[in-house]
Symmetry: C2
Subunit: 246 residues, 2 copies
């Protein structure tokens, strides 16, 4: 955001030797964001400015600034004069976001395929193998981490910065609901089969084919929901115990 368009102002990837020149509110924002993404702050948790200020040892100013930016990212919901809570995505909103995310991935793959290096392809195969192993061992979190890396590679390789910004925005919003993702996507095996087909098309340089393989599944979640009309049993996010999905 500065933020949303996180390409501005952040300038991640700074020289290690540099001192921490970030402003207070930036550190606060990152701290709270981590806590939300890790599940430590569950959806619906009220974020009081004064208590946050006390616990982090700063005044309310930087807290307000941080909460505002996180609200812009969709991670917290602010109601004027009533405070902020960690955003709760309804099932419909989650599906909406998921749909948009997949549309962006489709674009990413189409743009990325002609630009992929040999190293990129090797990394994709590697991640795919990882996903297979983790699925076999039923390690859902690890599976999703590898899965995220798989998709992130296309987004990065697409060379489209805005696309990356939007994608990561939606990823942060949806990434917390692993259970929902799973329920929507079907089994891990099904996901792997899809990735196999995609990887095949990518290796053949068939950008359109790869894109269609993804795009064809965009309507699936909504169709599933309309047919079942049921909400998944698990609506709370699964706490990730290992590295972030990003």
């Amino acid at each position: 955001m500065n933020d949303t368009p996180p390409s501005n102002e952040d300038g991640e990837a700074r020289d290690d030797r540099r001192l921490d020149n970030r402003t207070l509110w930036e550190q606060v924002r990152d701290r709270i964001r981590e806590d939300i993404l890790s599940g430590e702050l569950a959806p619906g948790t009220v974020l009081s400015e004064v208590s946050l200020a006390r616990s982090l040892g700063v005044s309310r100013g930087p807290i307000r600034e941080a909460l505002g930016r996180l609200a812009s990212e969709g991670l917290v919901t602010i109601t004027p004069r009533r405070g902020a809570i960690v955003t709760e995505l309804t099932r419909d909103e989650f599906i909406d976001a998921y749909q948009v995310r997949e549309a962006l991935e489709t674009l990413a793959i189409r743009l990325a395929v002609p630009r992929l290096t040999e190293a990129d392809l090797a990394r994709l195969r590697e991640l795919h193998e990882e996903m297979i192993e983790h699925a076999r061992a039923d390690r859902v979190n690890a599976f999703f981490a590898a899965n995220a890396g798989f998709h992130e590679l296309f987004v990065t390789a697409s060379g489209n910065g805005k696309l990356g910004d939007m994608y990561r925005l939606l990823l942060d919003q949806t990434g917390r609901y692993l259970a929902r993702s799973l329920a929507l996507r079907g089994s891990l095996d099904k996901s792997i089969a899809e990735h196999s087909a995609i990887l095949e098309a990518v290796e053949a340089g068939d950008a359109e084919g790869a894109a269609h393989l993804l795009a064809d599944h965009i309507e699936v979640p909504r169709r599933v929901e309309e047919e079942t009309g049921e909400h998944p049993a698990v609506t709370a996010p699964i706490k990730t115990t290992e590295g972030s999905d990003r």
Copy 2:
């Protein structure tokens, strides 16, 4: 967003009879946004907190809050400890955003077609007629306004709130550069021909066909740029003299 995802917190479309219950910083944000979108504040303009505070008659707090949110929307660029300026999109960034925007429109059309009412179709035909007339009279601004309405209808009718949020975000970022849009898209006539084909597919209920008609043109801008390698003569936004494009 609370904003980014502008679906939260804003609650636009409030009852007319209600008093203005919005907070100060929200009013400031909207005011500055209007000035940016209208071209009154040109890209690159420095936005000093103190001078803004003086001219709007409030303290620096609400100004900071507003600038932060606008930064999240991508309309202003904040550099820590150095201040804020109206975001300048480079040609590449503009093309990136344009590409993403078209991808979102593609999704929107695919989702919207099966949900369109007879009234929606009538409105689409109406807008299409308007575009033809305005193009004939060389009224570029009016053309773009009708064009925006045409696309907005699909986005709204898609029923996907997140899609709308992301779309409008990108629209605000790119909408200021009418000259660039024109240079990228080709003549108005070409655009009308595209819309005719799309409208035809939509009326036939052919969602995939309509979506492909849009999607096929996604790579065009980048190809054009790579071939010419030239930057358009006009990089500054054209000041719109009539209603906003939204």
